[in-house]
């Protein structure tokens, strides 16, 4: 440290500041820091802080400054305005974050003109990475997580399935992914319901599903108020008692939501790319860093690991470009990047710029009075089936 500060002090004294060593790289993070999805947004910051706690606050010698912008709902116009402000006014070198798909779609067109890469920490619709060559994603896609659960459902003997998804990008992806995989395996989809994002009362839907005579429900809704309401309605309307199984992606049984659902959630199967209970040294280090930073382990969600790994990508990009603005070089440097994330081994697919990872089958269990998801099966190196399916 001292070796480097001496030349800077000398240079400053001479009135010439050496730019490369002292320049701070600015990263603009857009997330849901208020509103009903504030917890996932908080997890962005938790992941970022944890990464910096473990790996230091500089990348390749460059300090990093984060500028957080709040966007609490799908609002494409505001998303674009915030991104524009970060680029024009705050002069960020990288954009990161983005919880909702519509917001990602709105930001994509300006990345090339702005010469800024976007590292997505969450938004999960497959086609997003195709909207701009400057997008890298470190979260997951619905195709990636849904194809395994469809295979599990077939293996478990499900014959007739009702699909219930929220009516927006990721939901439609989930529906397509499940339908394709399940029907290819010989199953039949009896009902495919798309629910408006604002639905609060799931009673009528549950009734309709019950009347359709299915043996299994596949559901996807964004984690938060919608999933809690849905699972509770599933239990309260007697579907669970009637033997209708509920399978989903991990969004439905996110750890912070499990206490609201209560013991009745025990036994729900889901496939997901991350569970806080994952047993690996990287995950232990990750969770320890979170706790040390003052965070609560019961609030950890998949968005924290999305941000954590997103930071890994950003650090690599800053190192590769030596803190200079060179989006093409930055993106090339992380294509094919392979590392061990808290969730398991991961790699950035060079074709799709989306993260390839293990997907785990989990079951909700109770231990020491706490409800959590326990990994019971691993599906290694799952790609984004949504993009490979279209190829």
């Amino acid at each position: 440290m001292r070796l480097r500060t001496i030349p800077i002090i000398v240079a400053a004294a001479l009135g010439i500041i050496v730019p490369a060593a002292a320049e701070t790289v600015k990263v603009g993070v857009i997330g849901t820091f208020s509103g009903p999805f504030a917890l996932p947004g908080k997890n962005f910051k938790v992941g970022i802080d944890a990464y910096q706690a473990i790996n230091g606050k500089t990348a390749g010698g460059h300090a990093i400054e984060f500028i957080y912008k709040d966007l609490d709902a799908p609002n494409p116009a505001k998303a674009k305005a915030l991104a524009q402000e970060l680029v024009v006014k705050d002069r960020v070198q990288y954009l990161a974050g983005v919880y909702f798909t519509p917001n990602a779609f709105a930001i994509a067109p300006l990345l090339e003109e702005a010469q800024v890469p976007l590292v997505i920490f969450n938004a999960a619709t497959s086609s997003i990475t195709q909207k701009s060559p400057y997008i890298v994603r470190t979260s997951f896609t619905l195709w990636q997580n849904t194809v395994p659960i469809a295979r599990v459902a077939l293996k478990q003997g499900a014959k007739k399935v009702a699909i219930a998804v929220s009516d927006y990008g990721p939901g439609i992806d989930a529906e397509a992914a499940f339908k394709k995989t399940f029907e290819a395996g010989g199953g039949s989809i009896v009902e495919a319901l798309r629910l408006p994002l604002s639905t609060a009362d799931f009673g009528p839907i549950m009734q309709r599903i019950k009347n359709s005579g299915v043996d299994t429900i596949f559901a996807f809704l964004p984690a938060g108020p919608p999933t809690v309401g849905f699972v509770k309605a599933y239990i309260d309307n007697g579907l669970k008692a009637a033997g209708i199984k509920l399978v989903s992606t991990g969004d439905l049984v996110s750890e912070p939501d499990l206490p609201s659902m209560g013991d009745a959630a025990i036994g729900i199967l889901s496939t997901f790319h991350y569970a806080p209970s994952h047993a690996s040294p990287e995950n232990q280090r990750f969770l320890a860093a979170i706790e040390k930073g003052g965070g609560s382990l019961s609030e950890v969600m998949m968005t924290s690991v999305g941000a954590f790994d997103g930071m890994h990508v950003i650090y690599k990009m800053i190192e590769a470009t030596n803190g200079q603005r060179d989006p093409k070089k930055a993106i090339e440097a992380v294509k094919g990047l392979r590392w061990n994330s808290p969730r398991g081994p991961v790699v950035i697919d060079p074709e799709t710029r989306h993260i390839r990872q293990n997907v785990y089958l989990r079951i909700v269990e109770k231990q020491d009075g706490r409800l959590f998801n326990k990994e019971i099966e691993t599906f290694p190196d799952q790609p984004d089936y949504g993009l490979t399916a279209q190829n």
Binding site: K69, D70, V88, P102, A108
Partner: protein
């Protein structure tokens, strides 16, 4: 009769030209302020542009609320109609920005014709409820028709061509800003003339006392509908301008919150003077931007407190302060009112 008041026609002409003069001065001041802002805040052009689009929307609202006495929380339907019409047209190949504004105006006007015929038949609470219901109906329809509107994901890929073939819309928003400023200034002038016209005065009369207007022989509903359609066209232009300059249209364009915030801006600034609409929009949008980046919920509480204060102590809005100051100054100069 004319002899009793010497030079009545001359006096009338003088008063009329004084009023045009005032309007020209007012509009020029707005134009100059906008131009000055362009140079003093070059990094904030996007924010200032959103102020102008909001101002345009609130102006359209002022026409029906301030000048006609209509109670509506559904005005976003007209704005959203213009935004989606322009957006869909652009995605389908019509890229000339002026033509897109025109399409927005027509869409807004049509939407006003349809919703107005439902809303304007009632008054008071039923009118309010109808305005909300038509707005929500429009929103659900737009959501359902996601193939053309993009649904919850929003309509993206709106890439307008160069303005007049010369000025492209860039990331830094310079063309967009100046375009919006010119549109605002032109429409402001036209609306100022409109509200002083006999038609505008008739609508004011309807707001004051419907029964008296009817007894005078004028019909209420067609006049209200006319003004509502004009308002719809302005709102449609505002929506189209937003679509063209931001490149995306989301369902929030048809959101209840948009309507509600517009009414808040209008009352904050003062309804019934047009300049109040501008003031309210400017103060509100800038205030929101500055405070909500610190903490969005504190902003909401502050707006709430401000609203309460305005209703109790400043019911005619912030702009009325300007009027009060003007009167005081005139009194000091010894000129009677």
């Amino acid at each position: 009769m004319t002899a009793a008041i010497p030079n009545l026609t001359a006096w009338r002409k003088q008063a009329a030209s004084a009023r045009i003069g005032r309007d020209v001065v007012g509009v020029t001041i707005v134009a100059l302020a906008g131009g000055a802002a362009y140079f003093t805040f070059p990094d904030d052009l996007a924010l200032l542009r959103s102020v102008m689009i909001a101002a345009l929307f609130v102006l359209s609202l002022d026409l029906v609320v301030g000048y006609c006495g209509v109670a509506t929380l559904g005005h976003a339907a007209l704005y959203g109609a213009g935004a989606y019409a322009a957006g869909i047209a652009c995605v389908r190949g019509i890229v000339d920005p002026l033509m897109l504004l025109g399409i927005g105006a027509i869409a807004g006007g049509l939407a006003a014709l349809i919703t107005g015929s439902i809303i304007l038949r009632a008054t008071g609470l039923p009118q309010l409820v109808l305005s909300i219901a038509t707005l929500e109906l429009g929103r659900e329809a737009a959501n359902k028709a996601s193939r053309i509107t993009g649904g919850s994901d929003g309509l993206t890929g709106i890439e307008p061509g160069a303005l007049l073939g010369l000025f492209t819309f860039d990331l830094w928003g310079r063309t967009a800003y100046l375009f919006s400023l010119i549109v605002l200034v032109v429409l402001l002038f036209l609306l100022l003339r409109l509200v002083r016209s006999p038609f505008g005065l008739l609508c004011r009369g309807i707001k004051e006392d419907r029964i008296r207007i009817r007894s005078m022989g004028a019909s209420v509903f067609p006049q209200l509908l006319k003004m509502y359609v004009v308002s719809g066209m302005v709102a449609g232009i505002a929506g189209a301008l937003a679509a063209v300059t931001t490149g995306v249209v989301g369902l929030d364009s048809l959101g209840f919150e948009k309507s509600a915030m517009a009414i808040v801006m209008l009352v904050l600034g003062g309804a019934g003077s047009l300049y109040g609409a501008l003031t309210g929009a400017a103060v509100f949008v800038v205030f929101e931007h500055v405070v909500s980046s610190i903490n969005p919920f504190h902003w909401l509480s502050m707006v709430g407190a401000l609203l309460i204060v305005v209703v109790l102590f400043l019911p005619r809005g912030l702009w009325s302060l300007a009027g009060q100051i003007e009167r005081r100054l005139l009194r000091l100069r010894g000129v009677g009112e």
